[in-house]
Symmetry: C2
């Protein structure tokens, strides 16, 4: 507990306990070999027994999602008339002498999680990043994708979106490669000489459509327990239907060469369509190619048991209230950065919390430590657990704190519910940034400003799609935060995401891991133990105002009316503006109550007087209830029209946008459809929810 006058601050003590040496040991354990979800239980058992050794009651919670594994794969260029094969793609990553992770017999070939089984042949078309506008540009250039195999490069939007966009455009197969201009020698020296992605490197990925729903594709909205009813896989809307594979830029090069002179030169569409293989003499053309491409993606789908390891430290004051901290454990290969850096931090945090326990500490609220399985398979572990515990989380969830890849680089980045931003800022100010005189906050602000962010504080965007925060935030309405030290690619989802690479180029002395652990620990302990929760409705109201203005700018842009016409753009989101104002006023009332409590009673409610003590306890409980449940008021139980699993009305992960998030998703859909009436109707509906939230905040 955060003690009263003279008491030790558990968050600071925890920071002292955390050890870089332990983190190194943990990292070496988790990244010691490939550990794809569903292939063994060793790491789950190790995690569980480590938690238990720390005195943390732990259970392994199994679910049974529908997962696929690679069986056979081929990408070949051939002459459809003669049948002569001119190129066979390797589809394997090279071995790097001295890095055993690159030589692990369990390493996978080229593979996309939840990809469609298939053996397809067609002409090749290059579609840049495979965004909606890229496919529109192809159409405008007169290039048909129908029946084609589409070659796209990683970046801008998630892989699943690219494959789906190709499918929508009528393609029969999709290949996705890492272009060196985005992630390879165009950025710097490649592994093992440097951190960047080498020529043979494959970026495996999930192609599950999280925009429909994450987790097991056969049990949308409910847990995939052993005996749960299942959809027919043909009815699972989150599955893409065309086969896909990732390829290396080494394998992409002959394909791009085969496109040269066919269709439209990419540079004629836009400069932004030209990748980095120009340095190898390639000129980017759209195709379709004269030669045909055969894409074989034979995969085996199975119902596979996965293991979430769930540790529980019971709260002493409000044991039903829960703060969840977690990361996924499974990896596409060794996964030193993604996710083992986060797993190492979680394990060390368990040790530190265990040590705090031995030092006499118990949190006020219950802490759940979650090591999720099958995160790489569309966030299956966290999604199924949230679906199973949805009633509890809606009633008593305080927050979810995710650290996926804790250390992929040295630039701090965070996405979060607005309610959690202030707490994150405060925590980042408490943690020293390695090899500097400043804090993580200082370094973060510097990087954020350098990246073009305005404002006095570092930028924190709304939660994006690629994190186990999704089910908590979007489905359950629990405020969530995701953070870590980011790089910009390099080895993600390849065999080269190895301990050797981390030790050589990412975090040789484990000090970034230590900083991540300290930050995670700070945030977790404050959430679990602050007498008065530091979730901020004021910040939420302020961000909502920014959201409204941002959406209004988008309306103005997309629906620019004929001069003097009665278009939408002249209209503002009037109802939402009014509701936001109410929320702002209510938030200020909560803030005043909190200040009052601090000044008059003290957060501890320790004073010599019966009525005062009771008043203080009641006021504190009321404030905590209001600030922790604010987020729940933005959950529409019916979900977004057409995407019912996604229930948050203010912001959603966006799979087709580079930003990764979508403000007022239902309004954005109406805007995309140009349906002004629906937009107005939905605005009123959302404004009504915000009004409700404002009233809820005011109920003292």
């Amino acid at each position: 507990a955060t003690a009263g006058a003279g008491g030790l601050d558990p968050a600071r003590v925890l920071m002292d306990i955390l050890s870089a040496e332990q983190l190194r040991e943990n990292l070496e354990y988790y990244a010691s070999g490939a550990h794809v979800a569903g292939t063994n239980t060793t790491q789950a058992d190790h995690t569980r027994s480590h938690f238990e050794r720390q005195g943390i009651g732990t259970e392994t919670v199994e679910y049974y999602p529908w997962l696929n594994y690679p069986v056979a794969q081929r990408v070949a260029l051939f002459n459809a008339s003669t049948g002569a094969v001119s190129f066979e793609a390797g589809l394997q990553e090279a071995r790097v002498p001295g890095d055993p992770a690159s030589d692990d017999p369990h390493n996978l070939p080229a593979f996309h999680g939840h990809s469609a089984d298939g053996n397809v042949t067609g002409r090749l078309v290059y579609a840049n990043y495979g965004t909606g506008s890229d496919f529109r540009a192809l159409g405008e250039a007169g290039v048909s994708v129908k029946g084609a195999i589409v070659l796209m490069r990683y970046g801008v939007v998630p892989c699943a979106y690219k494959v789906h966009a190709a499918e929508l455009a009528g393609a029969h197969g999709a290949l996705v490669y890492s272009d060196p201009i985005d992630d390879g020698y165009g950025k710097g020296r490649v592994y093992p000489a440097g951190p960047w992605r080498p020529a043979s490197s494959l970026q495996r990925d999930s192609v599950l459509r999280l925009d429909v729903y994450p987790g097991d594709p056969l049990t949308p909205g409910y847990p995939s327990t052993r005996d749960a009813p299942r959809l027919d896989p043909r009815d699972a809307a989150s599955l893409n239907r065309i086969p896909s594979l990732p390829i290396s830029h080494m394998d992409a090069l002959p394909l791009l060469v085969a496109l040269q002179g066919h269709g439209v030169e990419a540079a004629d569409i836009s400069r932004g369509w030209v990748g980095g293989l120009t340095s190898k003499g390639v000129r980017y053309w759209t195709g379709p190619s004269a030669l045909a491409v055969n894409l074989l993606n034979q995969v085996a789908y199975r119902t596979v048991p996965i293991q979430n390891v769930i540790g529980r430290i019971k709260g002493w004051e409000d044991p039903e209230q829960v703060v969840v901290i977690g990361n996924h454990r499974d990896a596409w290969s060794a996964g030193a950065s993604d996710p083992s850096s986060g797993s190492a931090v979680l394990l060390e945090l368990a040790r530190a919390l265990g040590e705090l326990g031995r030092l006499g500490w118990r949190p006020r609220r219950t802490i759940i430590l979650a090591s999720w399985d099958a995160g790489e398979y569309g966030l299956a572990g966290s999604t199924e657990w949230v679906e199973e515990n949805i009633d509890w989380l809606r009633a008593d969830g305080v927050a979810y704190v995710n650290v996926g890849a804790a250390v992929e680089g040295s630039s701090f980045r965070a996405t979060a519910s607005p309610a959690l931003k202030d707490l994150l800022y405060a925590a980042a100010k408490q943690v020293a940034y390695p090899h500097s005189n400043g804090t993580v906050y200082d370094a973060w602000l510097r990087d954020s400003v350098a990246a073009g962010a305005r404002g006095r504080r570092p930028a924190v965007q709304p939660l994006g799609p690629a994190s186990d925060t999704m089910a908590f935030a979007v489905h359950a309405g629990v405020s969530a935060v995701d953070f870590g030290f980011a790089g910009s690619g390099g080895a993600r989802h390849s065999n080269f995401d190895s301990i050797q690479r981390v030790a050589a180029f990412v975090d040789p002395d484990m000090q970034l891991h230590l900083a991540a652990a300290r930050l995670w620990g700070q945030v977790a302990v404050r959430l679990a133990d602050d007498p008065v929760l530091r979730l901020s409705p004021t910040r939420y109201a302020a961000d909502l105002k920014r959201y409204i203005r941002q959406f209004e700018r988008k309306m103005a842009l997309l629906l620019r009316p004929p001069p003097k016409g009665p278009g939408l753009a002249t209209e503002r989101l009037g109802h939402l503006r009014a509701a936001q104002h109410q929320l702002e006023v209510s938030a200020r009332i909560v803030e005043d109550s909190t200040r009052h409590l601090r000044l008059v009673y003290g957060e501890d409610c320790q004073m010599a007087g019966r009525r005062r003590h009771r008043t203080c306890l009641a006021l504190r409980a009321s404030i905590n209830d209001r600030v922790s449940k604010l987020e729940r008021h933005f959950i529409d139980p019916d979900g977004a029209p057409g995407r019912e699993w996604h229930k948050h009305v203010l912001v959603a992960p966006d799979f087709g946008a580079a930003s990764g998030y979508r403000l007022f998703p239902a309004l954005a859909d109406a805007l995309d459809a140009g349906d002004a009436l629906q937009l107005r109707e939905r605005e009123k509906y959302i404004a009504g929810m915000v009004h409700e939230a404002a009233w809820f905040l005011r109920e003292a």
Copy 2:
């Protein structure tokens, strides 16, 4: 503060902060050179700036005691008729190759602190350990000491007592050597081959008569500030009047040889008179010798400034209440064990308390960290400070915790006020004993039983003479405890008490230092921060009962009456027995109140109810007041008859007894004098004080 439900235990967190590496650094600093009191201020300044770096407000408090330093010294055997010198003692310790501490240019020659200046000549007499009974035995054997130079060996009673006993017997000078059977090759391999005292080793010591009063000999009972009035040194009753020197057994050997055949063979007095130089062909005889001995002890007395470094961590709840933890800093040479092991621990404790502060903690009561100067000169630093702060300490002193030589060996030993024994046991159960599966308590109990102690708990004797506890316990009536890991001599007060010796033979991995620091930290933090103080009146009453029985046995032994006669021995200490019973009953009442408070309110007094909260706070304050002031009720402001500085009526350090303590000193004096009337009268007086104490405990 010891936090409430769920709070971190500061004592345990402190134990985690303490570091063996830091302790090693500290030890290496303090033991890096000779640092005799009054010769420089470097270590005081270092200690102060270290405290200040930890955020601890610190001042250097100077006093100006009367100290002496060696100028010239000689011990020579010569023929008084011819003047032919047959032996000149070296009076220097040998250099040990590879141990720079043995080669420090600041090392002292043979020297006794506060010894009398003089150049005397006389025949030599051997007086064994120089106890009262040893001198009586010489008298009974017809050996006169008048005008002689007395040769005695270290052990059994303090050096000051030996010199005084020699003076009383009419001797003109005193030589004190370390016999190898007590402290040298008779025990094991000698330094540098082993830990034991080698042939050239001198044991320097203080010869100030602490039984009269400790501290500055010229300001008995008041602080020796710069402008304080001073006694004429000729009136200072704590000074011995005959010159004395310590010598090595190498130098003692020719002297013993000169005694052979003269007087009585020591073995004829008692087997216990024969030392260990028999293995070198020596037969121990009493003398007087035929040859004469010249003893020159030229010393320079000066009023010298000494520096106590006093750090202060202010309490938040009861800032006036004070717990003092301290050790002396000055040494006779490098003093790696005595006192630098304790100084190293104190410094590391300051760092850990500073770190606790940075972690948000403040103690309920004020903690004083005291690095005393001139401890080797009759406890001058602590004595003068207590004399200056006597009013504050009598009003608000909670306890004094001393760690002098923290690590001289591996056997835990402690002396304490009965009130502190239970706390010490509890703390020893919390600290792991190095290289074992058990705690310090386990090892201590094992050693204690092996040494013949009965009882279910390790033996804790009353406080003895050679510790800075003296002024606190005996003069101010503040409960005190002194502990450490003891050996049995070896290098005490010699140049060989060096870092090299500690690293090779005493505590190579600093784990005993770490255990001492943890134990000291536990005790200090509990005393300063427990909501309810764990001083135990029950234990005090039980020990008083043992004291009474022990004294009655002594009465029976010394005053064995003629059969059926009306001697003292048939009488019991009836008044004291009755008063002790009252004390026991009162102590049980306090214990019940404490149990009641714990069960009904909780130590934190945190409950939702005005009257209950106030009641609890009042009850707690009352309990704390009663248990911490119990000891003060055994202080007689008039002091013991003839030794007014010594004011504790139940127990006093005893300088003439091997046990080191004296029960009911005023009664013991009467018993020694055979004065039954006085004994009865004094018993009634002391019983009255115990009655008062019992009534005080009962006032709720």
